[in-house]
């Protein structure tokens, strides 16, 4: 279980996070949503140990600030928003780097399995720099996946921290990657994802934290957080949440009516 309590963080003298509390359990997807500049990525970077905020962050009972980098790398992998790769490494070599950072380092077959999981097995020997934006994003996901390939090791869950894992993907690959995250969680791992797409979030996340200007606007299951009032306040625009009727019921959208 990951717990962050009363997180304060300033970047360049500007307060970005003001007393954020955040909890995530293994076995489910926890999403962080909110408008641009609300502090989503900063919160994720604080949780991964990349930034050092005020406040306490514990991962399965251990203080993250005290865990050495190699120990952290064995426990969690991180997918950053965008990552340019210097030098002409192949996709396979990049995924191999992730693998060698984790506990499955002695299992070379994991590279191929991770690439298959993100639908890139046919591109293993292409240069990473020559892949398209969406392919690069999935390549980095495969690298993170290879680093924490087994969701649970010796009873301790592994974690995936993902910053907008589906932002640059087409809808088919969006669903594929979301299903991959759900599967990782179902097998006992923890998944924390910064998300923009509220529909995909509602479909896959078990817990959602909605940020607004560096504070938590709402946190809880999708039904409670993705509601008219918190969403409208956070995004500064009147939003209405809808629910489709059960299957078999026909319904009519009056917005589609036009003058005959």
């Amino acid at each position: 279980m990951l717990t962050a309590t009363d997180i304060h963080l300033s970047l360049g003298g500007r307060p970005v996070l003001n007393g954020v509390d955040f909890t995530a359990r293994p076995g489910q997807i926890t999403a962080i949503v909110g408008p641009n500049g609300s502090g989503k990525t900063t919160l994720l970077r604080a949780l991964t140990g990349e930034l050092r905020p005020r406040g306490a962050i514990t991962l399965d009972g251990q203080d993250c600030a005290r865990l050495p980098p190699a120990e952290m790398a064995a426990r969690r992998a991180v997918l950053p928003q965008a990552g340019a790769v210097a030098f002409p490494f192949t996709l396979r070599e990049v995924v191999q780097m992730g693998l060698s950072a984790g506990l499955s380092a002695a299992r070379p077959e994991v590279v191929g399995q991770a690439l298959r999981a993100v639908d890139l097995a046919a591109h293993a020997d292409r240069l990473f720099q020559e892949l398209s934006g969406g392919e690069q994003a999935r390549g980095h996901l495969a690298r993170a996946l290879a680093q924490v390939w087994e969701p649970v090791v010796a009873g301790v869950p592994r974690w995936l921290f993902l910053d907008e894992p589906v932002a640059s993907l087409d809808i088919g690959h969006q669903l594929q990657v979301m299903a991959l995250m759900a599967d990782y969680a179902a097998r006992g791992g923890g998944v924390i994802a910064v998300m923009h797409d509220l529909n995909l979030t509602a479909m896959f996340a078990a817990q959602i934290t909605l940020l607004n200007r560096g504070r938590v606007e709402a946190a809880g299951p999708p039904g409670a957080v993705l509601a008219d009032r918190p969403l409208s306040r956070a995004y500064g625009t009147a939003l209405r949440v809808n629910v489709t009727p059960p299957p078999g019921h026909v319904f009519v959208l009056p917005q589609t009516a036009a003058a005959v």
Binding site: E50, A70, A77, F89, M97, R126, R143
Partner: protein, 352 residues
């Protein structure tokens, strides 16, 4: 009928040769280069007799053992040190155009060496006694180290290096070091001026076992230590944050890389003056052949760097024999076009 130009499927990486095969090939190349370097020269010499001691004349013995052999060893060490420090620096800056000679580290090391030659006599005798023949290499190392630290501070913000800032800062640092070097030359007495002139020629001429002894410890230390950083530099290629997430002690890798670059550059500059482009061309060629993985790249750069510098030195000796060209001219003539070629292919690199 119009031919339809359809996009070809993206090329698969043509099978890169196994690292072991590359190493074996490079070792062979180094052996050949060493042979050529030993047998070719201005003076007709019975090298074989001198080497195996079968009734060679004293003159042949001296030419082989006291002139060509130390020059060969020094050339191999300097070439390996320059190529490895180039590869290390490119890994540190995540940029294939970074080279200690181009971004002012060589000039900083040169200033250190000149300071030691001119002002070395002012050091307390106890310090001089300890430093001994290593005074000039150590001073060059210190100069290179300070320059690299300053350069990294100036050019890198939040884990991203601006190539333009780095090159421009390198120009400024080199100009400053050049000016201070000028002041030192102004202060130097006649004997020191003679030392400076010979040193500043930037060549392997005048190589002797004393120079090998002065430069070898630092250069060998770097060559042996560099592979330890390979995994860290691979991780840095994905960015500092990603490297940190993969458990790499980023700050330690960066500091160690800066130290090694300064040590190798400092020692090389101290014994042979400024020799350019080896640090860019050698790692770049190797990346084309065997890929950018630093675990193979760093040892291979040492082998190819040594071979290239020995061959360049041999060319420098025989092209205008019995006189000789400064080796810096040879490496620049061969290396500068390669540098421009990399630049043209990867122009986007400068627009960071």
């Amino acid at each position: 009928m119009v031919a339809i130009a359809h996009r070809e499927a993206p090329p698969r990486r043509p099978g890169r040769p196994a690292p072991g095969l590359v190493m074996a090939g490079l070792a062979l190349l180094l052996a050949v280069a060493a042979g050529v370097g030993l047998f070719q020269g201005a003076a007709e010499t019975s090298v074989r007799a001198a080497l195996w001691g079968e009734g060679a004349s004293l003159r042949d013995h001296v030419i082989v053992w006291d002139i060509r052999l130390p020059r060969l060893v020094l050339g191999a060490l300097v070439g390996a040190a320059l190529a490895v420090s180039g590869a290390l620096m490119q890994g540190l800056f995540r940029n294939p155009l970074a080279d200690p000679g181009l971004v002012g580290v060589g000039a900083g090391a040169g200033l250190g060496a000149v300071l030691a030659i001119v002002l070395g006599g002012l050091l307390p005798p106890a310090v001089l006694a300890v430093a001994g023949v290593w005074t000039v290499p150590l001073a060059a190392f210190a100069g290179g180290w300070i320059t690299t630290l300053v350069l990294y501070r100036v050019a890198t913000r939040g884990g991203r290096t601006s190539m333009a800032t780095m090159l421009l800062a390198g120009i400024a640092i080199a100009a400053l070091a050049g000016a201070l070097t000028g002041v030192m030359i102004y202060l130097a007495d006649d004997r020191q001026l003679r030392d400076l002139t010979f040193w500043g020629l930037g060549s392997l001429a005048g190589a002797n076992w004393a120079k090998v002894q002065a430069g070898a410890p630092l250069m060998l230390a770097v060559l042996l230590a560099a592979p330890v950083l390979a995994r860290g530099l691979n991780g840095l290629a994905l960015g500092e944050a990603a490297a940190h997430h993969m458990g790499i002690p980023v700050e330690r890798v960066k500091s160690a890389t800066i130290l090694l670059v300064a040590a190798a550059t400092g020692a090389a500059v101290a014994v042979s003056g400024g020799i350019g482009f080896v640090g860019i061309v050698v790692p770049h060629l190797l990346r084309l052949v065997m890929g950018p993985d630093h675990r193979g790249l760093l040892p291979a750069a040492a082998l190819l760097g040594a071979a290239v510098l020995i061959l360049a030195d041999t060319l420098a000796r025989i092209l205008v024999a019995p006189a000789e060209l400064p080796i810096g001219i040879v490496t620049a003539v061969l290396g500068a076009p390669v540098f421009l070629w990399i630049l043209l292919r990867r122009r986007a690199l400068l627009e960071v």
